[in-house]
Symmetry: C2
Subunit: 273 residues, 2 copies
């Protein structure tokens, strides 16, 4: 099995193009003409959550949050969600699951139901971004900053409630050069933003705002925090709800530096490894 980024690149080569698509595979969401933003994520029992140790409401809330976070990273306002649900034999918690999906206040406007070997929740989020922020707009010298605190999900065993940063994302429209949501951890997601922007990056590990009890490693590679990583021009004052954690560089290297300026090798989470 190929690692996820190689699989995405392979699929991108056969994806086709269309006049209606402004930005396709490789960003947090697709952008269509008129500023329509669409994304989808699939969560599978035993891979992304453990239905035995979780409520169906929490699974639904998390699946919706993961998608709404992708909209947030495009500076989009959510319009609706769709959910394709694969239900295992005997599953009787569709109502709680749906309540979780609708728990962020974004209406569930459609979907599909199927049988499946294990609970499989595929959510599509649709939003509107008059000024979408892509991963690819970063420039050398931009500072890198994050919302919130990192590593909290790793500390909590990936069971903490997720609040997608929708308001923050929309406030960064017209200001941020580039943005991505931290689903896999800043160690891999910073590299994705930098590569998409044709830049390198330096992330200062000691600057990472850590959730209570989180180690530097958990903050860097724990993943699933769904905070935003944003590249900003230095000409802008930094809002107090962002923490500067590094910068984009002109060389191609992505470095995670410890307090002594020594590069650390930390890999983010890859479902396929």
């Amino acid at each position: 099995m190929l690692p996820e980024d190689e699989l995405v690149e392979l699929i991108r080569r056969v994806a086709g193009t269309g006049d209606d698509v402004v930005c396709g595979i490789g960003d947090d969401a697709a952008v269509l003409e008129g500023g329509l933003v669409v994304c989808c994520d699939m969560l599978v029992d035993g891979v992304h959550f453990d239905l035995g140790g979780s409520t169906a409401h929490a699974v639904g809330a998390r699946a919706a949050a993961a998608n709404l976070s992708d909209l947030a990273a495009m500076a989009a306002r959510p319009l609706c969600l769709l959910a394709a649900l694969g239900l295992p034999p005997g599953f009787d918690r569709a109502q709680q699951l749906s309540q979780g999906l609708a728990s962020h206040g974004v209406p569930l406007a459609g979907g599909d139901l199927s049988r499946a070997p294990v609970l499989t929740v595929s959510v599509t989020a649709v939003g509107h971004a008059p000024r979408p922020v892509l991963r690819s707009g970063g420039r050398p010298g931009d500072l890198l900053a994050v919302t919130g605190r990192l590593g909290g999900q790793a500390v909590a065993g990936y069971t903490a409630a997720v609040t997608p940063r929708l308001a923050e994302g929309q406030r960064l429209a017209g200001i941020a050069h580039a943005m991505i949501d931290l689903s896999d951890g800043i160690a891999s997601d910073a590299g994705r933003l930098a590569r998409a922007s044709g830049c390198g990056a330096r992330v200062l590990l000691e600057r990472l705002p850590r959730a209570p009890g989180a180690s530097i490693e958990q903050a860097a590679v724990g993943g699933e925090d769904y905070e935003l990583l944003v590249a900003l021009p230095r000409s802008q004052p930094l809002p107090d709800w962002l923490t500067e954690v590094g910068e984009l560089t002109a060389d191609g290297e992505v470095l995670l530096l410890d307090g002594d300026g020594v590069a650390r090798d930390l890999a983010g989470w890859d479902h396929f490894r």
Copy 2:
């Protein structure tokens, strides 16, 4: 486990509402302000297809067609597809699968990759319908007509290529009162259209245009033909690419009548039965 229509109703009650959603759960696709149309479908190995007896390209093509057929039933023009793919261990046909997804000429603009116990293909289709046709606009006295021929998938063991009726659907914008695509078979889908329209229906089984080798039963309940069933005012001349098969009625009954006018009890396909 509840039957599919009851599960959909249960989810609809907790789905929430929003000013941006014109038409939500219960139609072939959701309609948003501005005529944006979005739908999603999940296909699971062992439920909707058999990967052992099929190519990955055919699975992708079918998953895309099922969604594009839903857009067709709304009289929408497709803009793009997204695909959330759950890949089983050792799956190495992501490229062929993606080529199948893109084989209808609609670009694949984004998606997600995950591990899963069996191949799971969740496709979202996004389209635009200046004059969307809902299931709910039918009126008593409307004639019911279908595109193409029915039962061909049942005859072919559900392996025949599917061509979504996109051009036909768009031609019916502004003409049809109501429309649905025949994914489960006219025996159940005619009832869905009629109930959504607050009508009854009479379908004349001997009128059903049958694919070569198809029995009346296969044409009525075989399913997966992805033809369009449309309710039309009698004031319109019937285009020669439609076949009249019945009518909507003022009473609430949905009747499938044989050549002697006797009602037959034929149930469509329900994944959950």
